[in-house]
């Protein structure tokens, strides 16, 4: 086994483990039978555990795996932030906002994004330790592009939630 295959397998296991953990956690805390909105994390979780690793494993589909993985993280972030706003702690102190909202869950979710990014970047840019990182931050596939999409999707989702109830 080459180091490339070994590192890739390790990252794949990390991706599947965190996705499966998230899916099972969601199934435990709020089953879909209680609220149809709870289907969102279940569908996202199933896509993350099965479809994302399959797309990541093909050379031609790796870009789609990376894109789907990133958008699932963005959807999870927005969904959990929405949940936190609807279940805002009382009284809202710094401690309660940090510890009693979904902020820790959102931070854990971003691990999935960065593991996916590591798989994609290692495949796309190679495993040469001396190679420089180049490219414009706000262009695909760099992190700035994701921040632009996070802000844009959050805005659309929020305005839609206000105007079309």
């Amino acid at each position: 086994m080459t180091i490339r295959t070994y590192v890739k397998s390790t990252l794949f296991l990390a991706l599947i483990a965190i996705s499966l953990g998230g899916l099972l956690l969601h199934l435990r805390i709020h089953p879909a039978s209680q609220n149809t909105s709870n289907f969102l994390p279940i569908v996202s979780g199933i896509l993350s555990v099965i479809v994302v690793p399959l797309l990541f494993s093909g050379k031609k589909t790796i870009g789609y795996g990376y894109t789907l993985n990133g958008f699932l993280v963005i959807i999870g972030t927005i969904g959990m932030a929405h949940f936190a706003i609807d279940h805002w702690p009382e009284p809202a102190t710094f401690e309660s906002i940090v510890l009693k909202t979904t902020l820790p869950d959102i931070i854990v979710l971003w691990t999935k994004f960065f593991v996916g990014k590591a798989i994609f970047d290692l495949e796309l840019f190679g495993y040469d330790p001396g190679r420089s990182k180049v490219g414009v931050t706000y262009r695909y596939p760099n992190t700035g592009w994701w921040i632009v999409h996070l802000v844009a999707i959050s805005t659309v989702y929020t305005i839609s939630g206000w105007l079309w109830r």
């Binding site: 609220n35 969102l40 929405h82």
Partner: protein, 31 residues
Amino acid sequence: MNKFKMFSLNWWVLHILALIFFIFLGHAIHF
């Protein structure tokens, strides 16, 4: 922009579809 080939769709088509999807999601999700 011309090199954009995600899902074999044009950039504008993909973004309009995404816009519709996220408008629907914002409307549909209630906690």
